[in-house]
Every structure is written in structure tokens, then in C-alpha cells.
């Protein structure tokens, strides 16, 4: 029988209801071609199908393919999407299905593997099969899951703020199309964020091709001037990629390589790989950072210099001068010393070193950095320039604003993003926007821009539509839906296609983009692994066309305070502001949640008599903002740092949280602080950061060194013997404090978010926290991160405290918390030296919206009011593995159980396994000389141990 006939049959099944549905399904099962398709789609099921009787087979199918027939909101996986892996032996189909897909952040594809249960996506992990990801993830990738289920997402088109039909939208688009056809696109402007999807680019190309007068503008809230630098240096546009995995000496000037953002995963993977190599004795892993305010990159660096943003140029020139590239500007003693060290390391590791400057800095600086890398022979190795994949180039935002002011824009179509909110005050976009006669906005939320547009068109989330994108190193990742949209939404591709009357489905659109290179089998393979091989652009011949004379503007030491505006590590440019998981995610360095602050240096705070929470007005030029103070050790004395992404007008979650810093974005020159007298309570999860003489985080000098041996501690009781004996090892030398583990844990274990007030009371529920300490002078201290899950102590004090046997030990050495036995005496928490236990002070979960319930992991109990909870070492994953092993009658393999934090970690800092077997990864880690117990004096025999941080980045010192 023909493929088409079968498809029709399938459609018939889905459209059918109740008994008719089962009957048609029944018929379906006997069809030869269906069996064939079955084998393709679920090999395991097909195998079972021969053995199983038809009845059981029907049961399985009822759950898997046919949900569409059962519930109205069509929450079923897309019929064309293919399972990620050939499912392992003995796995029951329909229990969990994995799809390779990709998210997109600022035009960069983030390859993921999504796990769906009962056709609901419930967990995302990084897709290690994709060349631009070697495992792990980032908080943004993890939290994208909640974004999908966000109850605030707009579910229907709005016209003038009132809900309307897509049919009406279609009519409107049809009229627009006719107008554009007659005028050739006169006055039509398309505004997007950074576009990474080749398919979308193709569509935009087609659009501009069809209507020559139309223009495409693109903007990014986060200033990136590197592109222009590259163009003027190479004489052609190119994509720049750096490979930290190969860079033994990295000099980052005000460049937050490891920090949150689209590049975080790629860089963290690279850094982790390099650092692990260094630990294994293969070369060095040096990181030298000069920055105005501490970032997790600076904190990770072995050599950090706090320096005003305006001095970066001078500092870079100093480094360049020492490498005989250009003359140097006068530097002070500290800067001289740092430049010496930087230049030395760079030279020592020529060919395997890298200089990088923050993307927001002037093109001249980037060009100088490129020149240094070229001179050192790093080009093509640690720093590579790739052919631009896209012919069409967008025009900048400012041009659009001018046109809008001049009234030349008749129709503005904003495709994604929220420019009214997320554009610098100085651009004056919002005012100009209001003057456009016809305004469309397509986005996930009816946000500031949506509410100011005539038409708001709800967009589909990346997890529910077809698309494609390019990973960091250029390979194309295919985005396939994990679930069908249950809201009346449309994808970006659909909207443009509808505008251009393109009847092809999204899938066909994406498929068409790659039709020339790939036949169907190759395509299905691509869907299975999540990327299209050999699609990375070729490197450009990296010969600079411009002379190597650099017109650096000599930046004479400035007076007064200077402002640094950065995207927020938790909510980025504001696009995640409605995501509670990220709002409540403690920012790496301040542990602030639910809001931003005006960060000042300890020196400035002392001089002005400022304390955390004091309200100040920050004035720059004609604009000003008001926010609470936060004193940040390690910040350059005269720098004032604020984060973007807060102070939203709309949104149940985001409204009224923090202040909006966009008005000050791009302001140059001196800023002024006026103390307003008021105070605002900031919700932080850590109040005390000084380590003093406590050795919570321990250090060794180089990778070769070991910690002084601990004398054996006296103990009445023998150590706990069990097989397996689960244990965890956390390498503090690899931890960069990126918080991916926390978000991963939240997603896996249904951790409730409690809101600002509760966090301020000290009632956050995170099972895993990342403590941050510093030691040394507040001007430039040594910072360190320390992820703290439950220690699963062998001699657990918590268990001694519990009167009802709710806290007990399992035969495989887990410290269990039995929720339904717990009566909430909280003794366990009082007795816990590590304070890792969390208590349900209120009913935190009962009132959740249905969407929020849908996101929950069905394998993890949702805790009720009045019970204690804590890290379980992801016991549900352990038992899953145990069951599999039992079925096959074998021991659990090493690495078979991965805790959520472990699989989320981009640097592989966390290792979990059976420590009774000396040949497991975790045992090897614990055998290292850097292994130590947290709070040894508590003598609790913790199963979670740490590996000391290494101060120096190379042994030859």
C-alpha cells in the first residue's frame, strides 16, 4: 500500500474519538505498511509487537501515537519527529522518549536532547552529539522548559489589545501582501533579533527579493561591535569562533567568556576540557582577566586585575607593546606588572594562547587583539574566522529609528524580541515606534512591544516548532518539536510563509533549506542526532587587509564614576524575566534573586557611606535610574555596575521586579550617585561571603600538589559498608559557578519557587546551592564557588534527630527523606551542619497553574506543606538504572546513573557513582590528592567530597 494511504489512515485514527478511534486503530495494527512504519519509528516496539498480542500492542499505541484522538489540546509529539536514540534493551516504548533538537539564544543554536513523558517535555539536556556541545548545559537551556509552559504566554492573536481570530490575522496579512505587491514593499520594515536560522534567513531573503523596497533590520539588546571590527580587519564579514579547549593561556580583557549568554556552553565546555587536560599534566590552563567588575570568568581566572573599563584599551596596548606590535600607553605599576605577566604567558604559549576583548569594546581594540593573536600564530587555532553563511545582511536599528521618525515606515513587523523595552534609551526607539501607522509584533508574550502594537501575534516556542540554527562552531542544528502547541500560536517561519502565501508546512520549509545536500535517510539521521554534518562554514583566509597601525584613542585617566551596563546573569536581556526558575536563581557573585542592584566597590561604599539596600539615583547625561546598592568586593573603585532585564511593565512574574537599566545603556562619560535615603530589601540567599580562616574551599598551588594528609579521625562507629555505595565528587577547580546544576536540579526534582519575600526570609527551596566565598582584600579578593548538595553523611546527624524514622539510611548508602512519614519537627535541619535541608513552610505547590503542574517530573514526588525535603542524589534516576540492570541481571555500570546536576554541568565538575568500586570515575576523583571533606571537624563521613581548587594554571611555576 502507498505511504499516502497509510498517512490518511493515521490521520483518520487521530481525528477519530472514543470507540470509533479504537476500531480504526485496531484495523491499523494489521496493516503491513503500518508494521513497517512501526519498525522505523519504534524499533523496540516493533520487536515487541511480534511477541506481544495485539491487545497489549494496542495499549502501547493508545498511549503513544494516538493521544491526539483522546485529548482536545493535542499535547502529542509531532508525528514526524523521530526518537533520538534506538531505545536501549528492554525499555518500554511510550515511557520516555528523547528528541534531539535545539533552542536558540541571540541567534546561536543551543543543541539539546529533550525528554518527553506522556508526550510532555519534562527535561532538557545538552546534546553531546552536536559538534558545538560536549555535554552539559546552561541555566537558560534548562529553564527554557519552563518558558514553554509559562502560563503568561499569549495564546491568541490580539488586535488593539483584544483577542481575535487567526482568520482575521490572515485576512490582514493578505491585504498587506496585496499592498506590498503593488508598492514593491514600500515602507515595509521587518525587525528581528539576531537571526541564526538558515531557513529564516532564506525566508527573509525571499521576502526582500519579492518586495525590493522592503528592509530588514536587526538589533541585539547586548551591544556587539566585534562584527564591525572583523569586517574592517578582514575586509569581509566573518564569524569568529574561539576554541578555549586548545588555549593554554587566555588573556581576556573585560570579556566574560564563561559568563551567561549564547556562548556560555561552548566556552565552558572548552575551558573544562582544557582545565582537565592541565590536571592530567597535559599543558597549561592559564586565564588572565582584567575587568571593571567581577564576572565568573574573572573569578575563575588565576590572575585577575580590577581595572576601569576605559583603561582596557591602554592595558591591551601595553600587552601589544610587549609583543612588539604597537606602542604602549602609560600604565600604572599594577597594570605594568599585569601586562608583563600577560605578555609573558602569551609568548610562552604562542600558537596555543588567545587574547580576547569584550564584544562591547571599540573595534580598534578588537583589531589589536586579532593582530596579537595573528602575531602569536593563534589564528586558525585558538581563534578562527569562518565564512559568513548568509549573503543577506540586516541593517542596524538606528537607521530604522531615523526612518520611523521621518515617517518613512508605513508598516513595521517585529518578529520576536521586545524592542520597545529592550533598546537603549539613547536610541529613542519607543517614541519613534509609536509613530508607525501599522505595527505588528510576534512574540511569546504580549509584552511592552506587543501591547503597543496594533497586532500581537503569539509565537510558538522552540520546543513546539520546526526550525534550524547554527551552533557556535557553525554546524547546523535541527530544531524539531517535542510537543505540539496547545495554544493558538504560530512559528516564525509560519508567519513569514503566511505573509508570502507560502503553503508549505514548517517542516517542509526547514527540509527544503537542506534538500540539496540531503536525501531522506540522511535527513532522518540528522533528526536522530540533532545536527546536519559537514555544514560548518569553511574558515576564511585570515590575512588582514588593513595595515597593523592602530588608531587607539589614548584614554587619559578619567575622573569620576563610570557606568558599566551588562545583561543580567539570570534573566539576560529581560527575555527570561517571566521565568520564575531564573528569577529565583541566585546570581553567581551576589546571590541576589528577584531583582537587580546598583553594584559599587567597597572603597566607594566606604567613601559615600553606602550599605547594601540603600536606594540611590544613578544619573548619566539626561537620564537616570533608581535602585538599591549592592557592595561587590573585587569591583574597580570608580565603576558602577547595573544589570539589564528588570523593571518590566507587564507580566505576572516580571512586573515590578527590579529597575530598568536600559535608559542608561550606551551612556558614555561620568555618572553620578545621589543617595535617596530610602531602603529596598534585596532577597539574597547568602549573607556572609568572607571565608576568614575557615577552609570551606581549600586550595593547592599547582595541579601537581596535594593537600596535607588528614590524620584519621576518632570515631565510635565503623564506616558504613554497602554495595553499591553511592558517592559524589565535586571538583572546585572545574566549577565556574554558572548555576547550570541548580537549574538542572530544579527541573529534575520539581523544586518549587517561593518568591522574593520568602527568599528574603531565608526559605528558598533549592536542593543544591552554589556557595560563593572570597578571601583576601576586598579590593581584589580571591573568589571561589562551592556547589553544596546533600552530603549524604554516613554518620548523619539529621537521622539521629528524627523521632519518626523519616530520615533514614538506605542499604546503598543514601541518606533518605521519607516525605509521607515526615511530620515536620525540623530537628534534622537543626542538626545538619551543612544546612542543605529545605522545609515546606507553606503549601508551595497546591496553587500551581495547570501548566506548571504539567512541567513536573512524574517520577519525583511533589512535596506537601509541612514536610522536610533535600537532595536525594536523584534517587529516581538511580532506581531507573537499578531496574534496567536487574532486568539484564548485571551490576549497574559506572556512569549509568547521572545526577541532574552532573549532566547539567558544562565543565564536568560533578562526578557521581559507586565509591565501593575503586575503578569508577568517582573513586578515581576521590583518590586524587586534592580530595577533602567539607567540615571534617563535624566528623559526619560525608559521601559528597570536594577536590581542592588549584591556584596556578601551569605546573612550571
Amino acid at each position: 500500500m502507498s505511504e499516502g494511504a497509510l498517512n490518511d489512515a493515521l490521520v483518520a485514527v487521530r481525528s477519530a474519538k472514543g470507540r470509533r478511534y479504537w476500531r480504526s486503530l485496531d484495523e491499523l495494527v494489521d496493516r503491513a505498511d503500518f508494521r513497517h512504519r512501526l519498525k522505523e519509528e519504534f524499533p523496540a516496539l516493533a520487536r515487541a509487537a511480534s511477541g506481544l498480542n495485539r491487545r497489549d500492542l494496542l495499549k502501547c499505541l493508545g498511549g503513544t501515537i494516538a493521544l491526539a484522538g483522546l485529548d482536545g489540546c493535542e499535547r502529542a509529539p509531532d508525528e514526524e519527529a523521530l526518537p533520538y536514540v534506538v531505545q536501549p534493551e528492554g525499555e518500554v516504548p511510550g515511557e520516555a522518549r528523547h528528541y534531539a533538537s535545539a533552542l536558540e539564544l541571540d541567534g546561536v543554536a543551543q543543541p539539546i536532547v529533550g525528554e518527553t513523558r506522556a508526550a510532555r517535555p519534562i527535561k532538557l539536556e545538552g546534546n553531546a552529539a552536536h559538534p558545538s556541545c560536549s555535554g552539559g548545559s546552561t541555566p537558560f537551556m534548562q529553564a527554557a522548559l519552563l518558558e514553554l509552559y509559562d502560563p503568561d504566554r499569549s495564546g491568541a492573536p490580539l488586535y488593539m489589545g483584544r483577542p481575535t481570530e487567526w482568520a482575521r490575522v490572515d485576512r490582514e496579512l493578505a491585504q498587506l501582501r496585496m499592498r506590498l505587491d503593488t508598492t514593491g514593499g514600500e515602507g515595509f520594515r521587518l525587525l528581528t533579533g539576531p537571526v541564526g536560522s538558515p531557513t529564516l534567513l532564506g525566508q527573509i531573503e525571499a521576502l526582500v527579493g519579492r518586495w525590493p523596497q522592503a528592509r530588514w533590520h536587526s538589533w541585539s539588546p547586548v551591544t556587539d561591535r566585534r562584527a564591525e571590527a572583523i569586517e574592517s580587519w578582514l575586509g569581509m564579514p566573518a564569524k569568529r569562533v574561539i576554541h578555549l579547549a586548545d588555549a593554554e593561556a587566555v588573556v581576556a580583557l573585560d570579556d566574560d567568556l564563561l559568563g551567561a549568554g549564547p556562548e556560555q556552553l561552548w566556552h565552558a565546555n572548552g575551558w573544562g576540557e582544557r582545565r582537565r587536560a592541565y590536571q592530567a599534566g597535559e599543558g597549561a590552563a592559564l586565564l588572565l582577566v582584567a575587568e571593571p567588575s567581577p564576572t565568573i570568568t574573572g573569578v575563575t581566572a588565576g590572575d585577575r586585575l580590577p581595572v576601569a573599563e576605559a583603561r582596557i584599551g591602554a592595558l591591551l596596548s601595553g600587552v601589544a607593546a610587549r609583543l612588539e606590535i604597537t606602542r604602549s600607553f602609560p600604565l600604572n605599576a599594577e597594570e605594568e606588572a599585569w601586562a608583563d605577566r600577560a605578555a609573558e604567558k602569551l609568548r610562552n604559549h604562542a600558537g596555543r594562547s588567545l587574547v580576547s576583548v569584550g564584544a562591547h569594546h571599540a573595534p580598534e581594540l578588537h583589531k589589536l587583539a586579532f593582530a596579537i593573536n595573528e602575531k602569536l600564530g593563534n589564528l586558525g587555532k585558538t581563534e578562527r574566522f569562518l565564512q559568513p553563511a548568509d549573503a543577506l545582511r540586516p541593517e542596524p536599528l538606528q537607521a530604522l529609528v531615523e526612518e520611523m521618525r521621518a515617517g518613512e515606515v508605513a508598516t513595521l513587523f517585529v518578529l520576536g524580541g521586545n524592542p520597545v523595552y529592550a533598546t537603549a534609551g539613547c536610541t529613542g526607539f519607543a517614541e519613534a515606534f509609536a509613530r508607525v501607522p501599522l505595527r505588528f509584533h510576534a512574540g511569546l508574550h504580549a509584552d511592552e512591544t506587543g501591547s503597543r502594537s496594533h497586532w500581537h501575534l503569539p509565537l510558538a516556542h522552540h520546543l513546539e516548532c520546526w526550525s534550524d540554527g547554527r551552533g557556535m562552531e557553525g554546524t547546523v542544528a535541527v530544531t524539531q518539536p517535542l510537543v505540539r502547541p496547545w495554544l493558538a500560536v504560530r512559528s516564525r517561519h509560519r508567519l513569514l510563509a503566511d505573509l508570502m502565501e507560502d503553503r508549505r508546512s514548517d517542516r517542509e520549509l526547514v527540509r527544503a533549506t537542506w534538500s540539496d545536500q540531503h536525501d531522506d535517510t540522511a535527513w532522518e539521521q540528522a533528526l536522530l542526532v540533532g545536527h546536519i554534518p559537514k555544514t560548518a562554514p569553511a574558515p576564511v583566509a585570515s590575512t588582514p587587509t588593513t595595515s597593523t597601525s592602530f588608531a587607539l584613542s589614548a584614554s587619559e585617566p578619567e575622573r569620576g564614576l563610570r557606568l558599566a551596563v551588562r545583561p543580567d546573569p539570570s534573566v539576560w536581556d529581560g527575555s527570561f524575566a517571566s521565568n520564575p526558575w531564573l528569577q529565583e536563581l541566585p546570581k553567581p557573585l551576589t546571590k541576589l534573586t528577584w531583582g537587580n542592584a546598583v553594584h559599587v566597590s567597597p572603597a566607594l561604599a566606604a567613601e559615600r557611606g553606602l550599605a547594601n539596600g540603600d536606594l540611590v539615583r544613578v544619573r548619566a547625561g539626561i537620564r537616570s535610574i533608581t535602585g538599591p546598592i549592592w557592595v561587590l568586593p573585587g569591583q574597580e573603585a570608580d565603576t558602577v555596575l547595573v544589570h539589564l532585564g528588570y523593571g518590566r511593565e507587564l507580566g505576572r512574574v516580571s512586573q515590578g521586579v527590579g529597575f530598568n537599566a536600559y535608559p542608561l545603556l550606551g551612556e558614555k562619560g561620568e555618572v553620578f550617585l545621589d543617595v535617596l535615603g530610602g531602603r529596598e530589601e534585596l532577597a539574597t540567599t547568602q549573607h556572609h561571603f568572607e571565608m576568614e580562616e575557615d577552609e570551606y574551599v581549600r586550595f593547592v598551588e599547582t595541579a601537581a600538589k596535594a593537600l596535607p594528609p588528614e590524620p584519621p579521625k576518632a570515631n565510635f562507629y565503623p564506616p558504613l559498608k554497602s554495595e553499591p555505595a553511592w558517592g559524589m565528587a565535586i571538583d572546585l577547580d572545574l566549577c565556574i559557578g554558572c548555576n547550570a546544576c541548580i537549574t538542572g536540579c530544579v527541573a529534575e526534582n520539581n523544586i518549587p519557587m517561593v518568591g522574593k519575600e520568602e527568599v528574603a526570609k531565608g526559605r528558598e527551596m533549592h536542593w543544591l546551592r552554589v556557595d560563593r566565598y572570597y578571601e583576601g582584600s576586598p579590593e581584589n579578593p580571591t573568589h571561589a564557588f562551592q556547589p553544596v548538595p546533600c552530603m549524604h553523611c554516613e554518620d548523619a546527624p539529621c537521622e539521629m534527630g528524627c523521632p519518626v524514622n523519616a530520615a533514614v539510611h538506605s542499604p546503598d548508602g543514601l541518606n533518605l527523606q521519607v516525605y509521607n512519614r515526615c511530620i515536620g519537627t525540623r530537628t534534622c535541619s537543626s542538626y545538619c551542619p551543612y544546612k542543605v535541608r529545605r522545609f515546606n513552610w507553606f503549601d508551595y505547590t497546591g496553587e500551581d497553574a495547570p501548566e506548571m503542574k504539567a512541567v513536573r517530573n512524574p517520577e519525583v514526588t511533589v512535596r506537601s506543606r509541612g514536610v522536610m525535603e533535600k537532595c536525594t542524589y536523584c534517587i529516581q534516576r538511580i532506581s531507573k538504572a537499578r531496574i534496567e540492570a536487574k532486568k539484564e541481571n548485571r551490576p549497574i555500570r559506572d556512569g549509568e546513573v547521572q545526577t541532574a546536576c552532573q549532566s547539567a554541568c558544562p565543565t564536568q565538575a560533578i562526578v557521581f557513582g559507586d565509591q565501593s568500586d575503586l575503578d569508577t570515575a568517582v573513586s578515581r576523583r576521590k583518590a586524587s590528592g586534592r580530595d577533602y571533606d567539607l567540615l571534617p571537624e563535624a566528623n559526619t563521613r560525608p559521601r559528597t567530597t570536594y577536590q581542592a581548587r588549584i591556584r596556578k594554571g601551569e605546573t612550571s611555576e
Binding site: 531565608g762 560563593r772 537521622e799 523521632p803 519518626v804 511530620i823 551543612y834 507553606f842 514536610v867
Partner: protein, 436 residues
Amino acid sequence: MTREAQVTREVVRIPERFPAAREWRWMFAFALALLALFFVSVGVLFVRGPGIWGNNIPVDWGFPISNYVWWLGIGHAGTLISAMLLLLGQEWRNALNRFAEAMTLFAVVCAGLYPILHLGRPWRFYWMAPYPNTMDVWPQFKSPLTWDFFAVLTYLIVSVLFWYIGIIPDLASARDRAKKRRWQVFFGLFALGWRGSARHWARWQTSYRLTAAIAVPLVVSVHSEISMLFAAGPIPGWNSTVFPPYFVLGAAFSGFAVVSMLTVWLRAMLGLKDLVQVRHLELLGLLLLVTGLMTAYGYVAEVFNAAYAGKRELTTLQDRLFGAYAWSFWGAILFNFAPLQLMWWKRWRRHPLVLFGVGLSVTIGMWLERYMLLVTSLYRDWLGSSFGYFHATFWDWSLFAGTIGVFLTLFLLFVRFLPVISAFEVTKSIDEEAHG
């Protein structure tokens, strides 16, 4: 009429012809108001959850537990006074033991309420008791909480019985005197038909003395076990062997303080001046002074131990002395020991108002001490990252006030309807004086 007869009449007639009906009504109204507050607080607690309090991580025990310890401490004086002094043959106790014991009972009731209310799931409190159940699980007998559960329950039962068999003979005489029928029935029932047979007296006396003999170590054990609640946890500032005696002494101290206040008050209100005489006040003053000094020694011992117990204990000590909650430490010192010094002088000991004032101050001081011991250890225990602060909320205070309401209500009912002084024991001692 003989002296004996007068005494007995004076005491047992109180319920029938209550001397201070007006004052009593006012006080009872006040007590009922607080009682109402108690029920409101508990209602809100049950509806919304323990989150209405200031508790958090790390300070996950707050008011409920420190108040529990405070109440229970107060609840030790009665038994101590009547049992220990009975064994020591201190006849003067007879003027005080009856209402001291009553005070004990009601304080223990308030104390007992707290651990239950503070639970996350109060409706499951009975899981602490060993009984066969569908889950087949038993209590965890290595936990100090289980010890407490048994200790407090035992203590409640024993003190009720001790108090009750002590009051039976007076109920009998009240019965025999009662004119109104309803009083006769009321007392008659509770007197169990006591008729003062010499044989009954003999057995009664043995059992009363035996119970007393057992009650004394019981009191000590109970508060020692309460102290384990802290001492058994690996928390700097708690994990100390000084705690059991330290807690017991503190308990006696706070208890005697409350007894002194009640004595002065009842004496004035019920006009018992010739039964509760100045020498009784003086002896109470002495007791206060002695136990107070012992408690002070406990403080010193604490500091001494901390100074030798290594870094963390030392840091906790510094936190107590100079930290965010230093006010509770110095407050405890001030209220517990400053006014107490007046008790060195006979004339102040004999002065009812001064005694009352000292009692009040010590009661407050001991509350501050319990608070200090609990909070200052928890809010900065081990990891710098998990330091956190505790701030009591309105509901913390309202529940506390509520339990005071429970206490006052019960005590006022006792004063109103039962013989507040052990008449037969007083007459006995008078009789013995008469026969040298």
C-alpha cells in the same frame, strides 16, 4: 472553734464564698481574652502553616521551641517544692505546695502544646508514640524528641496524680462543709469517698511520700532530656555536657520565680496572710537566690567550656556576647541576676512587692536565656554561607501570649473552685507544734 478548724475553714471555704469575686472576674476576663487570641493564632497556623512564623533555614526552631523549654522549666518548681521539701520534712512548704503543683500542671500543659503546634503536620503528632500501624514503622528511640515525648508525658501524668492524691483529703473536708447540694456533689465525686480512716492515712502517706521520692529524680531527668534536644545536636553552642544540670537549675530558678509571684498575688487576693506568712516569702526569696546563683554558675561554666572547646564554640560565644542577638544574652544576665541581688537582704526578701518584682524580672530573664540559647547557636552554626537571621512575627508573639492565656485561665479556675492551700497538712503541722 480550734485553730485547726479556722485554718481548714479559711481554706476550704474559699470556693464557696470567694473573697475577691470582683478582681477574679476582671482577671478571668483578661485571661479569656488571651485564650481567644490563642485559638485565633492556632486557627491561622493550621490553615496557613508554620510559615506564618519567623522561622527559616538555618533558624528552623524559633519561638515554639524556646517557649516550650521556658514553660517546661517553670513547670518544674511545683513538683520540686512540694516533693523535695516534703522529703526534707520542711513543713513550711505546706502553705505553698498545693498551688505550686497546680502551677506546674498548667505550665506543663502550655509546654506540651508547643512541640505539637510547631510541627509541620501537627495532625500527625501521634506518630511519635509507639503503636502498631499500617506503615509498620515505630518511633526512632535514638532521637531526643522521642525522649522528650516520653519524658513530658510521664511528667504530666505523674504530676497530675501527685497533685490529685494530695488534694483528696481537702476535697473531702470541702465536701463535708459544703452547704449547697451542687458543691457537695462536685467535691463528693472528686473526694472519692475519703473519710480519714487511720488505715487509709497510713497507706496514703506511704504512697504520697514514695511518689514524691520518685518525682524528684523525674523532674531532674525531664529537663535533662529537654536539654538533650540541644546538646545531642552537633551545633556549636549546644553540643555541651554542661547542658543537663544547667537546664535543670535554670528550670528550678524560673519556676521558683513564678511561684514567688503567684504566692504574693494569692496571698494578697485571698487574704491568706496568716497562712502564707512573711517567713514563707522570705524562704522563697532564699530559694530564688540560691537557685539563681547556681544558674549564674551555669553561665560561667558555659563560657569556661566554650573557651576550651575550640574555635567554633568560641565563635558562637563571641556571637552571643557581641553578635546580632547580644541583647538577648545581656538581657538574660541583667533580668536574671541584677534584681536578684536584693535577695541578700532580709528586709527585701520579706517585702512582698520586691519579691514579686524579682520574680517577674527572673521570669523575663529566663525567657531571654532560652531564646538566646536557641537562636544564637542556630543563626551562625557551621558554614558561613548558611548564616541567616531570625525575626519573630506577629503570630509568634500572639501564640506566646495565647499560651499565657491558657495558663491564666486554668490557674484562675483552680483558684476559684479548688482549695488553694493544703489545709490538712497545715493543720497537721499546727497540731504537731501544739504537741511539741
